[in-house]
């Protein structure tokens, strides 16, 4: 790195007590504010061009269509905060969705079809956590291997066939709770709980310590190995919950997940301000980034930009956000 800084220090309740409220907000949640401002700006511009952008239907699709990415990014953010990474989560979500759908059409109760895959996700991630923490294999290597295993396993088991005839009750992502789409409720509640847990609870804060300075963390008595395994298991839990939202949003479950899903999830974490070097960032940022991606996708449709240029524009915006963040950090340093 040309910047010796590893990002913001972990945002503690007492950090910067003597500074102004605004400055403190900017220091603790700078990237979150940048992403939020980008979403707001997009809304203003696109609504001016096409007022139907803010119709109830479109807002629903923006906020709930990508909710599973936001939920998966919560666990991913925790993993990245500890200085690790996981490239297997996209393939895992595909495998769990197939398990979930198979259980649902085989006549198991819905709660089994929803939550058994969550347990499988926690187990798979737990194994990876053990390999990272105790066998000391770098997380990118472990998860790259697991990506191959899961991807190959999924196709050889399903043979590429889709699961259809899902029971109507199973499709929970299409339901509403107090007239609010379930995925939106899940995304907001899970994000706030996870953010609070990471900021105010000793276990959550120890993740920042492990990512920021592992040796110092161990010296202060944090059981590093067990925490790493735990954070992977928690990541598996969120991947499982993301699967419930993903698998129940359509009438069928495909044997494939969107290409590069793991990279989209990692990008959401990183654009949301989680330092890839570990030690800083919040899940509020990653959820905002997931919403930003959905907003961009929808904005392009409503401004009649050719669908072929969708990914180029998203790529350009991601790059702009990253560069803006680097410049902002240099200035506040």
């Amino acid at each position: 790195m040309t910047t010796s800084e590893t990002g913001r220090p972990p945002a503690g309740p007492k950090s910067g007590a003597r500074r102004g409220v605004l400055k403190r907000l900017m220091a603790d949640y700078g990237q979150e504010i940048v992403v939020f401002a980008a979403i707001l700006a997009l809304f203003v511009v696109v609504t001016a061009i096409n007022p139907r952008f803010v119709s109830a239907n479109n807002l629903t699709s923006i906020f709930s269509g990508n909710a599973y990415i936001a939920v998966a990014a919560i666990g991913m953010s925790m993993v990245i905060v500890t200085g690790n990474i996981d490239v297997s989560v996209g393939a895992l979500i595909g495998v769990l969705a197939t398990i979930s759908g198979t259980l649902a059409v085989s006549g198991y109760p819905n709660w089994v079809a929803w939550f058994f895959p969550v347990l499988v996700g926690m187990a798979v991630m737990g194994v990876q956590g053990v390999l990272v923490a105790y066998a000391r294999i770098p997380s990118i290597v472990v998860t790259l291997g697991m990506l191959s295993i899961l991807r190959g396993g999924l196709i050889s088991v399903t043979g590429g066939t889709w699961i259809s005839n899902l029971p109507a009750d199973f499709l929970i992502a299409q339901k509403r709770l107090f007239d609010i789409p379930v995925p939106l409720v899940a995304m907001v509640v899970l994000t706030l709980l996870a953010a609070a847990w990471m900021r105010y609870f000793p276990f959550g804060r120890s993740l920042y310590a492990l990512g920021g300075n592992p040796e110092a963390a161990v010296a202060t008595g944090i059981p590093a190995e067990r925490r790493i395994v735990a954070v992977f298991v928690i990541h598996g839990f969120f991947a499982g919950l993301a699967t419930i939202l993903f698998a129940t949003q359509l009438q069928v479950i495909q044997s494939t997940v969107p290409p590069n899903l793991e990279l989209t999830i990692i990008t959401a974490s990183v654009i949301g301000g989680v330092s890839i070097l570990g030690g800083s960032g919040t899940v509020i940022g990653s959820t905002l980034a997931a919403i930003l991606f959905a907003t961009i996708g929808s904005a392009l449709i409503f401004t009649n930009v050719s669908a072929y240029w969708l990914r180029a524009v998203i790529g350009l915006l991601i790059l702009a956000t990253v560069l803006a963040d680097m410049l902002r950090r240099r200035r506040t340093r």
């Binding site: 990118i140 050889s156 290409p259 990183v270 969708l310 998203i314 790529g315 790059l319």
Partner: protein, 314 residues
């Protein structure tokens, strides 16, 4: 970290390769034949070129996730420059190669001048370059190239697939640079301790820009070979090839944290993966089963290498 530990990993890998070759040749008569092995060399060239450049990038502690997207973009540009802009095909190929190289140079600038961590920088350009490929091509493929062009991807020179010569040349160049020149030592120094490398007066930024540019060039070259081999250009070419290349590099013993690794190891890793893919498919195992096995081999190889290394250094 010592020369001995590098030697150990590669010896271990070579043994694994020999075992795989022996076992697989018992599984099928068609496996251990010159024709089949040369054809496998043809198939691994694209990943191989990218993996060799990736070895040098990872040895500095960096990574390049955008290689598959650069491949797709370059492939599309070959078609666009030739068919839409009407350039003669050789000029179109050169222009496309230059564009892919420029894309790599862009990565280098973002990483060094802006100080963006390589993983994020190339994650962003992965989306950007693939998006450009999709936007420019509008999902149309270009076919009908002149016959001479197919000589690169489908022909032979001295009874060996044309592109295999390119792969050999690239491997030799990479191995010499990394193993025997001061640039190679600078790469290891940057990967081992970047701050120390900078204070020793090494031109860290220039080295990194050169390597990301080289990675872009390797991806672009792979794209031209790919187009010539499959006779068409499509915007989704090379999707996921970054993970295949990284798997080969890591299997080859290059530390993902930088400072350690050899091109020989990467080539051994490539051969092992390709032998498994081919041998198992001849033995009747489906491609998906092979993908699973490669994942297992990757994890076990690093696990075993870790255990040996600890046993050896203590």
């Amino acid at each position: 970290m010592t020369v001995r530990s590098i030697f150990r990993h590669e010896t271990f890998l070579a043994l694994l390769l020999v075992v795989a070759l022996v076992v697989l040749s018992f599984q099928s008569d068609r496996f251990f034949t010159t024709a089949n092995l040369l054809n496998q060399g043809r198939l691994m060239t694209e990943t191989g070129l990218i993996a060799i450049a990736m070895t040098l990038v990872i040895a500095t502690g960096g990574i390049d996730l955008s290689v598959g997207s650069i491949l797709g973009l370059t492939a599309i540009l070959v078609g666009v420059f030739w068919k839409s802009l009407g350039l003669p095909l050789p000029a179109a190929i050169l222009a496309a190669l230059a564009s892919g190289t420029l894309a790599g140079f862009g990565n280098g600038i973002i990483v060094t001048r802006f100080g963006v961590p390589p993983l994020i920088a190339t994650l962003a350009t992965l989306a950007l370059y693939r998006g450009l490929a999709e936007g420019i091509s509008e999902a149309r493929s270009v076919r009908g190239y002149p016959d001479w062009f197919y000589g690169l991807g489908q022909g032979e020179v001295l009874d060996v697939p044309t592109q295999l010569w390119l792969l050999l040349a690239a491997a030799a160049t990479g191995a010499v640079i990394l193993g025997y020149t001061r640039w190679g030592r600078a790469i290891y120094a940057i990967g081992a301790n970047e701050v120390a490398a900078r204070f020793s007066g090494l031109s860290v930024e220039k080295t990194k820009i050169a390597l990301y540019t080289a990675s872009g060039f390797a991806s672009a070259l792979a794209a031209v070979i790919f187009v010539s081999r499959v006779s068409t250009t499509r915007s989704d070419m090379g999707t996921g090839i970054e993970l295949d290349a990284i798997t080969a590099v890591v299997l080859g013993g290059t530390s993902i944290f930088g400072g350690r690794g050899t091109v020989l190891g990467t080539v051994l890793g490539l051969c092992l993966i390709q032998a498994l893919k081919n041998g198992l498919s001849l033995a009747g195992v489906k491609g998906d089963g092979t993908t699973m096995l490669i994942g297992v081999v990757l994890i076990l190889a690093i696990l075993a290498s870790n255990l040996f290394e600890r046993g050896g250094t203590r």
